[in-house]
Point group: C2
């Protein structure tokens, strides 16, 4: 073939929204039905309740004093006339009924005795402050019935739902559970994601780099992005260009994870190992085992970076294949997967993307939605960092957002409003 | 004493801002000078760099191809005339110099051979896509010198600072470090905080509640709040009302933590165990050991909830004593400590508090700054939840913010702007 038929060779491009919808459909059962696990409160911070939590006891569990002072019967109080003080009730103790015509010293949190219907703070009495023995107390006014008395169940009644399913367990919410005596909670198990980097050129960070070799940034990037989105990393693997090796790595990844993410091996080159295992021209007979329930569709998404994408199943487990360029792989995760991982973890997101004004004009090639790396300005605007080169991991690291330039837009003026994806 | 001298007994109140400043001064050396620790990248998500990180190698480490295509000498290209294809360079391999008048197949990421000064993507050539053997290629136009060639160091030069000290390690930043071959980072060690709950009435969540007993919510609440703010929990303990026991618990707390937080035992009652160990009337001879370098000042802060506060040192370690009421303790942490724990972890906060409009009128007792529990409305306003009772942990759990009503304000109209503290 020596004719110049580049146009004919190009497959039709899938829109970003279509690919997002297809990925969401693939993962929908995983997101909708999450298992729950039981954790002690100290391990549940920021996790999401998998079920309503009801209070096993009332809070407060008993009628108690809101202040250090004297418990009295309001009917017995005459301003200026002394009441005999017949004893003391400390927090953590029990209380006998209050005899008519008497008062009792009472500490904050201590049970209010039967008969008493108000507490008067010590500093509002003739006693002023607790010190030596107190035998009598004079009140300046008749307290209101119920004053400084916390009724049992006034905060939470026994059986009340303290927190509903779906609640994210902030510190204040863990405190409420602890106050009800709850020590363990059922929380949603986050999506377990396996991450596999492919490419003969890849070397693990920290190892020695040989000629032609490149450090694997995608393993670190995708694993961290999964964790940041609320998922857990089930498996991390790496494979060169041998389809037999990759098939074995993917088998582990699929067995351990709810979802497999691969990077690399999906371009137009001669050695595209992911396509060699999962693509239409894969040589099934060369693999170490049969690929039951395995089917991946490769497509080109009208997005830059991150055009070459694949989605399907490997041995029954959903799999998404990202391009190998570190910026492309990271953008792919943000645009196609991040919200689903967060949703599976029970985190609610409204899906709205904020709008910012461009600090400078931007041009964009037509036909592909650009996800430019952007940094926020002090004034609230956004500017492109590092240009459009998809290999610029340092620029990606300086970016706060992705600037979303629609496929049909070729130029934007300074001050134009753009949607951004927060990083 | 039978006269009614309540007014005289009340100590002067410290302003919230003064107490914040005093706590900040106490913790300033801890916040300003944090130790660093060395962690693998996979454990460093959201941590903060303790030192600049420089690139040990350039990224890319060698001149390489940005596309699957053909490497050529632009001076040799004549549109429409075939160039012989003399071989192939895969990613991860090495490349011999390109002979004049020839082209070589090259894969994305593969080294561009000496002599070649451009790459032409395969789909823009007569070949269209890689498949069977290719012996010659026809180009439609002369490529620009440098086209689709990534120069060594074009992303990061060897020795460049990739990320400066103080950078929070988002996934994109870990990716950049991995791309440079960096496997470990020096990150700031967060503040190690010990949390001690006091009170004879306290029982651990999950245990059986006896008469007069209360579940300890503060241990859970403060430990979770410390973690959410970026600190670590060094020690969690609980003590009843025996000063000897509390002194022993505090000794462990102070030995293991950079900071000790206590709750309870600081009010006006007869059994205030924290004051019994640390207050001016403490009986040092009754304690199991001498309290060297121990001094705590108790004061009443003009804040509600959370008035009774103490700050100082226990055996040299900074200590803050919060009131025992769970809402009071949580508000105390938010208002006095949270920003300092975050700052010690290297997290930058501007300290600004957003303003919201009240959905309804609010009245407030004079002389004390109110920190009301507030929930945000869909319309962007804020409303009080659960009233002002400081024991309402369930209301605190429903709150999104604390509504800050200044001490000199007695009433606010619907629609009035208020500062809020985000929870």
């Amino acid at each position: 073939m020596t004719t110049h038929d580049a146009g004919a060779a190009r497959p039709p491009r899938t829109s970003v929204e279509q690919h997002r919808a297809d990925v969401a459909a693939l993962l929908a059962p995983l997101v909708a039905r999450r298992p729950v696990e039981r954790l002690p409160l100290a391990h549940a911070l920021d996790r999401v309740l998998g079920a309503d939590v009801s209070a096993p006891v009332a809070v407060p569990a008993f009628r108690n004093s809101q202040m250090d002072g004297f418990a009295v019967r309001t009917a017995d109080v005459v301003p200026g006339r002394a009441l005999p003080v017949v004893g003391e009730i400390a927090a953590g103790s029990t209380a006998a009924p209050l005899a008519p015509g008497t008062a009792v010293r009472i500490m904050t949190g201590a049970p209010v005795p039967d008969g008493a219907d108000a507490v008067v703070p010590v500093e509002e009495t003739s006693v002023g402050r607790f010190g030596a023995d107190v035998t009598e107390v004079v009140l300046g006014a008749v307290p209101a019935p119920g004053a400084f008395v916390r009724e049992a169940g006034s905060d939470v009644r026994a059986g009340d739902v303290v927190l509903p399913a779906g609640t994210r367990l902030a510190a204040t919410r863990l405190a409420a559970l602890a106050a009800c005596g709850i020590a363990h909670v059922e929380v949603v198990v986050p999506l377990r994601v396996s991450v596999v980097s492919t490419g003969a050129e890849l070397v693990a960070p920290g190892e020695r780099l040989g000629p032609g070799q490149v450090y694997d940034a995608n393993g670190t990037a995708l694993a961290a992005a999964v964790r940041a989105a609320g998922g857990t990393v089930a498996f991390e693997g790496r494979s060169g260009d041998d389809p037999r090796v990759l098939a074995g790595v993917l088998a582990d990844a699929a067995a351990l994870g709810d979802l497999v993410l691969t990077s690399g091996g999906v371009s137009q080159g001669a050695y595209e190992v992911v396509k060699d295992v999962l693509g239409p021209d894969a040589d099934a007979a060369s693999l170490p085992f049969a690929l039951r329930d395995t089917s991946v569709e490769f497509r080109t998404v009208a997005m830059q970076p991150g055009g070459p994408q694949g989605l399907g199943r490997f041995r029954g487990t959903p799999i998404l294949t990202f391009p190998g360029n570190p910026v492309s792989a990271q953008v792919s995760f943000v645009v196609f997967v991040r919200e689903l991982v967060a949703a599976a973890a029970g985190r609610v997101a409204d899906g709205a993307r904020p709008r910012r004004r461009l600090d400078h004009a931007v041009t964009s090639p037509p036909g592909r939605r650009q996800m430019l790396r952007g940094a926020l300005s002090v004034g609230g605007g956004v500017r492109v960092v590092g240009g459009t080169g998809s290999h610029l991991v340092a620029a990606m690291a300086r970016a706060d957002v992705l600037i979303d330039v629609p496929a049909d837009v070729e130029a934007l003026d300074e001050g134009a409003e753009v949607e951004v994806w927060e990083l």
